[in-house]
Amino acid sequence: MAGLASAFGSGAMTNSIDEIDNARVLFVIGSNTTEQHPMIGMHMLDAVDKGATLIVADPRQTQIAKFAHIHLRQKSGTDVALLNGIMNVIISEGLVDINFVKRRTENFDEFEKIVSGYSPEVAEKITGVPADEIKRVARLYATEKRAMLFYSMGITQHVTGVDNVRSCANLVMLTAHIGQPMTGLNPLRGQNNVQGACDMGALPEVYSGYQKVSDAKARRKFENAWGRKLPAKPGLTLTEMFDGALNGKIRAMFVMGENPIVSDPGATHIREAVKKLDFLVVQDIFMSDTAELADVVLPAVSFAEKEGTFTNTERRVQKLRKAIRPMYGAMPDWKIIAELSKKMGYDMGYRATHEIMEEAALLTPSYGGILHHRLDDFGLQWPCPDTNHTGTPFLHRKKFTKGLGTFNPIDFVPPAESADDEYPFILTTGRIYFRYHTATMCGRTSTLKREEPECFVEINHKDAAKLGIRNNNKVRVSSRRGEIVVNALVTDKTPEGIVFIPFHFREAAVNLITNTAVDPVAKIPEFKVCAVKIVPLLPKPGMRQTVLYDKKNDIKILLDLYEESEAEYEG
């Protein structure tokens, strides 16, 4: 969320989900909302039914794109150029909200200089999106008051992730689509409590509420509350931790409910790193790949067995209620850590989760009024500074968190890796509807497992035809870092030259081949763009093909006669 913070001063969805219904323009970049955030997708469709215009920018023909009035299929990794192109039109056609820009933002001139170099024609050359489309989108978005902008992993998981987000922020400020209901810049976050984990300071450089560890005042506040001297130097990020483990700087690691071996790019690299650790503790509800390598495994409890709060993508802090007693010998995560802390000579003294929240509220201005007993119905949206405050549906009403909003001049930088003769395809990765993250939970849900049991690679039918690949054929996908063997799914969802692999499958962990290059600011690894080659594996010897003639459509269908056969049941 570094990109948003540098522009506005805080990183979260600025507006609320139930505002979507009444928006007039929805601009969705890099998010397959109906599949990845289905319930937000539902609100978007409702808005469309009410007459809103939906604009989707995504190289893939996703489900949400099928509802779009305008679908921009920019080349992977060219989002900055696309947005700059749009902003260029807005400026040159006089659609900027001058009043807003003057009163509430800074650094516009620097920004304008850069953007002036991105005429729609230039943008077309880089992105492949026709200049006319860019102009149309610019006019639509700029002239409508109730216009919301959404983005997701498709924007952030790039080497230029932070730039992409800053560009989005520029666009929003340029048109004053912020600080009002049914506007704003809205990141759709992947996991249920990503927002909360960030808010609560599970980050190397900040305490809860994004208070910097390097800020002496903030540090003193926490030191006073906790009665311990606290380090001032920002810590290592996830990716740096594993590098640290490899070079011996990090000797021990505590992993709470995560499975970095499957989820992180360059999985082979991480496995090596984890093996080098002197001591690894993993706390989880199931035996994960990472837990297999641990020295100590601690059984934690699932969402149904504990109390606490989750913060969703619209900053809504909601109460989790205990439905059943902890299974078997498991213990809630917070209790395990508290016990550990006590053993190490620091008694945290919590008896229940609401006491932890009380402490967090005391130390975190934006959570000041967020206490368990106030969250009974549908929770509260932070900032909620005190116990009389009823929450904030949209941010930055009168001023930005940091005062003036900052325009960041951003030039287009091509992706770290681009297609070449040896690796002619661009690989993008992402989620699919029936799966979630690394499948520790949904892999144990029969329906979800049945729907997508195997990893696949989506490839455009034209590319497939060129390579002689048919649906369900096994192919080898290799990059400069590794290779996996998966089934081909021939489709027109992905455009030519691009292939898509979901990242959920441990058997074929796509992160074995993705790029370990990371965004220099946010340290988000580049999942979305990586060059690969695809080789069809030869069909089994003895397999035979037959041609079926489909009269109605006048096409010949090539079938592997006996390959498609023999089920468990023949009669």
Binding site: G201, G227, S263, G308, Y433
Partner: protein, 133 residues
């Protein structure tokens, strides 16, 4: 039957759902009808979010690896062991030789406690989570 209103454990939408409990056994799920996010709907993951909770593969006891194989142990023992090893490593290599990974699937309270543990107890800012993914 008892229906407990709680929050879906999957994506960031934060949909409200009821867990249906009978004899400490989760037997079903239904959506909150008036929740501002999901308004009576759920996606397939939400509708099936209860099944993994009581899956028999759930970890049942703390385990310690000895000679490459996991051995069952008690909570008391394992807490002492982990506390001891962390103290030892902190002593020997300094607090910044320890790193902690928190989770975007855990609660705010748990994240706060782990953050506090890292900073106040271990004395390091080496804490992160997988939100970057």
């Amino acid at each position: 039957m008892e229906k407990i209103s709680t929050i879906c454990p999957y994506c960031g939408c934060g949909c409200g759902l009821y867990l249906h409990v009978e004899d400490n056994n989760i037997v079903g799920v239904s959506p909150l009808r008036h929740h501002p996010v999901n308004k009576g709907s759920l996606c397939v993951k939400g509708w099936n979010s209860f099944e993994f909770v009581q899956h028999p593969e759930r970890l049942r006891y703390p385990m310690v690896k000895e000679n490459g194989a996991f051995k069952k142990t008690s909570w008391d023992e394992v807490i002492s062991l982990v506390a001891g090893r962390f103290s030892e490593i902190k002593e020997k290599y300094g607090p910044d030789s320890i790193a902690l990974l928190s989770s975007a699937k855990c609660t705010n309270e748990e994240n706060f406690v782990l953050m506090k543990f890292a900073r106040a107890v271990l004395g390091t800012n080496n804490i992160d989570h997988c939100a970057r993914l």
